[in-house]
Structure formats: structure tokens, C-alpha cells
């Protein structure tokens, strides 16, 4: 009987374990999932919490209950993985031997790595919405923030869901307009990138959308210090951005046990992984998916979802003595909430940047256009997340490989000008 151990009961671990459970009978494989707690957070929902559009109780469910019958679920912090012995050591002292290990422990926030960030003013005038506590505290603060300079700052890439800070800006613009105080609140987006986003066509489009909304864009700003008391972000090259309220996306690391496991991770605790087969570079029987994997695409739920299908196929091939040759193309797909009950959809992979057109085919949802339909898509996605994606079922019409049909390739080289849907 194969022993499969899955580290992490979040998006990637849950959907991988459920797919594996369906692939093998109880007598063919024993599957265990380990996580340090029993709170599965619907992370895309965190964006809405600061604006009172979502509440914590709607976003959290028990991890164990998302797993199919016949999967052992252990709540126990991971001490380390001993690759040479093919065993996982848990904090309780328990040891889990494995034939295949799936690493899906995501990314963790590292606010303490930025000077001053968790110092004076943290959770008072400096917040993050990237965890439950931060998102909720920020909601309370935004309720009575009605004048001053709000700065949204990404400290360093990579981060989870690279469009989320932009969505926060768009929603903040909407939020303050609705409350009639937008003329008294200035909004600034401060990023280490050289534009609003990483991929050229989308970066130009999103940059234009910030400008239309009167949101200032500060680029190539590498935050060296957050001075909460003085209300300043200071970059390593000694530029300053002042603020009354700062919403900071801290640097990310992999899970701490990865760094404690000899040979498993890189300097930041992410697991070097073949970007197409999802097999780790650490050992042939170790696979990784989701935010935990160091592969050159976005750290996002859609990526994890698309990876899951490929990873499970390759685990099966490996256990059958075959070469794991199922191929992930880097497919990512994000709804970008743009405020006023509209959203924009982008779809891309390792080789193809986000392009206009429709998804998944010429009669599907509009790509790179703000529409109400995409907003409904984003809201509906939460249902699909719990009921289709986590159980490891396919979403109709949505597959791992990026769909080519419906994409407008003419946009590829030129930079899009405006074809705006005014808010």
C-alpha cells in the first residue's frame, strides 16, 4: 500500500488529497493530511472584509471537513521533513513515513522582516488585509477614516494574489465615493514593480485604471522601513512616501518548517519545483503545489487549482513506475474586482500574457474588461471553491491548460489604450 502524506490542508493540500483519494482505493493508498490548525480560510474573501462586504464567519470552515472520507487528518505543527529517511516529524513527536510527499503549506507573512512594520502604529495606522485579524482590524479603522492620505504598499514580490493590492485600491476608491468623502481622501499605490502589474498589456491597462480613478502610482519603491509613528514609508534608496493610514502587504516566506528541513527549500522557504511536472527538485518522491512551490507564476488559488490536476496525474505516474510527464503550462486566471459591482477577468500562462477576448471561448466571459458579469463571476466563485474546487471536481469548461480560443492575439505587442466602461 502506498503511503501518501500531504502537508497543508489549504487549497492545494485539500484538493490534491481529495483527488488522490478518488484515484486510489483505501487498500491501494493511505492518505494523511497535516496542518497546524483546523481553520480553512477562503483567502480571496479577505479583500472584501475591510469594506464590510464580507465577514469572517463567512470565510472560515473546518479544514478536516473539506476532506473526503478515508483521508486521515492530523492537527499537529510540522517540525521538519527528513528527506533522506522519507519521513515527516511532527511537533508532537509523531513520525510519518511516506512513499510520496505533497508539500502544500502555502506562504506565510513576514511583517517582522521589514524594519518598523510591526512597531509603533501597527494595527493602529499601519494594517494588512492579508490575514483575518488584519482585515478585521482594518475594517474597524476604515469605518471612521474620512480624510487623509491612504497608502497601499507592496513591500516585496512574490506575494499571494498579486492583483489583490490593486483591487484594494479600486474598492477603496468606490468605498470613499459611496461615503461622499473621496475628495478628502487621497489614494496612493506604492509598488516595487516598474508598473501597476508585472505583465505588460495588463500593467498598462491596470495603470490606466488607477489614473482614471485619481489613484497615484509610485513605482520601483523598495520599502526599507515603515515608520508608523512618523507616518512615512522609507525606501532603501531613501525616498519617502507619507501616510495617514498605510495598508501594507508584507514580504512572504514559505512555511517555517521548510527552512528547518535540510535540502527541501530555498532561502525564503519556498520549494524549488519543476514548473511543468510539479515534482520538487529536492527528491523524486516529493511534489509541491500552490503558494509553497517556487515556480514562475502567480501565487493564486486558480494556479493551485490548475496545478492540482497535473500533480495528481504525476504522482500516479510516479507510483506506477512511469516518468511523471503530465505538463502544467502556468495557467492562471483572476477576477479583478474594480469597484461599483464590476470586475475584470484576466487569463494567462507562463508564455502568454493576459490578453483581451473572452474566456474560456469566444462566447464566454469578457477578458480585460470591467463588467458586472465578471463581478457576479467573482462572487459565484466562492460557491465553486467549497463545492467543486476543494472536493477536487472539475469546473465545467475550465481546465488546467490555458484556453487559446477566445483570446485576441492582436493585442499582444501593442499596448491597449482606453475602451472604458466609466464607473
Amino acid at each position: 500500500m502506498h503511503r501518501i502524506v500531504v502537508l497543508g490542508g489549504g487549497t492545494g493540500g485539500t484538493l490534491a488529497a481529495n483527488r488522490l483519494r478518488r484515484a486510489y482505493s483505501g487498500s491501494e493508498a493511505a492518505i494523511s493530511v497535516v496542518d497546524q490548525d483546523d481553520r480553512h480560510v477562503y483567502q480571496p474573501g479577505l479583500l472584501f472584509v475591510p469594506f464590510g462586504l464580507a465577514h469572517l464567519e463567512d470565510l472560515v470552515r473546518p479544514r478536516g471537513r473539506q476532506l473526503h472520507q478515508g483521508i486521515e487528518y492530523l492537527v499537529d505543527p510540522i517540525d521538519r521533513v527528513q528527506l533522506a529517511d522519507r519521513a515527516v516529524h511532527l511537533a508532537s513527536g509523531r513520525e510519518l513515513p511516506y512513499d510520496v510527499l505533497v508539500v502544500a503549506t502555502g506562504a506565510t507573512l513576514a511583517p517582522e522582516e521589514t524594519e518598523g512594520l510591526t512597531g509603533e502604529g501597527w494595527m493602529e495606522r499601519v494594517f494588512t488585509f492579508y490575514d483575518l485579524e488584519g482585515a478585521e482590524a482594518l475594517a474597524k479603522r476604515l469605518e471612521w477614516f474620512d480624510a487623509g492620505r491612504l497608502v497601499v504598499n507592496v513591500v516585496e514580490m512574490p506575494i499571494k494574489c498579486p492583483v489583490a493590492p490593486l483591487e484594494f485600491c479600486f474598492l477603496a476608491d468606490w468605498f470613499f465615493r459611496e461615503r461622499g468623502v473621496r475628495d478628502r481622501v487621497s489614494l496612493t499605490f506604492v509598488t516595487p514593480l516598474d508598473g501597476a502589474f508585472t505583465k505588460p498589456v495588463a500593467s498598462s491597462r491596470l495603470g490606466g485604471m488607477l489614473a482614471e480613478r485619481g489613484i497615484e502610482l509610485v513605482t520601483e519603491f523598495n520599502t526599507g522601513e515603515v515608520d508608523g509613528a512618523g507616518g512615512r514609508l522609507v525606501s532603501y534608496d531613501e525616498r519617502e512616501v507619507t501616510f495617514d493610514l498605510a495598508v501594507v502587504v508584507p514580504a512572504h516566506n514559505g512555511a517555517a518548517y521548510v527552512t528547518r528541513s535540510p535540502g527541501l527549500g530555498d532561502e525564503l522557504g519556498f520549494v524549488p519545483t519543476d514548473e511543468h511536472t510539479l515534482r520538487s527538485k529536492a527528491a523524486p518522491e516529493v511534489f509541491a503545489l500552490g503558494d509553497a512551490a517556487a515556480v514562475p507564476t502567480s501565487k493564486a488559488g486558480s494556479v493551485t487549482h490548475f496545478e492540482g490536476e497535473i500533480l495528481v496525474e504525476n504522482v500516479r505516474r510516479f507510483l506506477a513506475g512511469l516518468t511523471p510527464d503530465a505538463f502544467y503550462d502556468g495557467h492562471a486566471n483572476c477576477f479583478i474586482e474594480t469597484g461599483f459591482s464590476k470586475a475584470m477577468l484576466i487569463d494567462f500562462n507562463y508564455d502568454t500574457e493576459p490578453l483581451p477576448g473572452r474566456f474560456p471561448s469566444s462566447v464566454g466571459l469578457p477578458l480585460m474588461k470591467e463588467t458586472h458579469l465578471n463581478h457576479l463571476g467573482k462572487l459565484l466563485f466562492q460557491w465553486f471553491y467549497w463545492h467543486t474546487l476543494l472536493p477536487g471536481r472539475d469546473i465545467p469548461g475550465v481546465h488546467s491548460a490555458m484556453p487559446e480560443r477566445g483570446k485576441d492575439r492582436r493585442a499582444e505587442t501593442k499596448v491597449e489604450t482606453s475602451e472604458e466602461v466609466a464607473p
Binding site: P162, T198, E220, Y236, D237, E267, P296, T297
Partner: protein, 105 residues
């Protein structure tokens, strides 16, 4: 892509001025590439970073980000910005003749 002569060797550079073939790189080229970026002379601290970038590239196939450099090169981030102003990871990669770090997606 453009063709250029750097320290007596004909090489190809991409649109952003990065060496297309990292194996063509020599230490003499680094001196000239640095001069073109306004860094002259290259001090021992610069070399420490450049050699580290080469090692990392050879070991992992890509250059490290600033945070990784700060953690592992022995040169703190603040000093990296003094040595290679604006974007240390990008600029040091260019001078070290390796591709632009692709950490940011």
C-alpha cells in the same frame, strides 16, 4: 536584440541590455558593463555580490532577488542599494552577465 563589443568581445544584448549568453561573460566585461551604468571602479564589495550572483545563477538557473541577496550574500540590503543604486538585484545581474531575476510575477 543588439550586437555590441564589450571589453573586446562581440556579444549580443537584449532590449534591456542584459547579456543574451551568460557563458560569454568575463570579469573584464563586468568592469565595462559597470562603467556604462555609472559604477566605477568596482570595489571588493561589488565583486563579492557579482561573484555571488554568478554562483547562484550557476546553481539555480536564475539570479536572486534583493531580499535573498541581503540574507545570503553577506552584504546587507541597505549596502546593496549603495553599491548598486536603484535596483541592486537587476543591476548586479546585468553586470554579472546573467538574466534579469524573474522573481516578480
Amino acid at each position: 536584440m543588439t550586437t555590441d563589443t564589450i571589453a573586446g568581445t562581440t556579444v549580443e544584448l537584449n532590449e534591456e541590455g542584459f547579456l543574451v549568453d551568460p557563458s560569454q561573460w568575463t570579469e573584464e566585461m563586468a568592469v565595462e558593463l559597470a562603467r556604462r551604468e555609472g559604477i566605477d571602479p568596482l570595489t571588493e564589495r561589488h565583486w563579492q555580490v557579482i561573484r555571488f550572483m554568478r554562483q547562484q545563477y550557476e546553481a539555480t538557473g536564475s539570479g536572486p532577488t534583493v531580499r535573498v541577496l541581503g540574507k545570503t550574500s553577506g552584504v546587507p540590503v541597505k549596502e546593496l542599494y549603495q553599491l548598486f543604486p536603484k535596483g541592486p538585484a537587476k543591476l548586479a545581474a546585468k553586470i554579472a552577465g546573467i538574466p534579469k531575476p524573474r522573481g516578480c510575477i
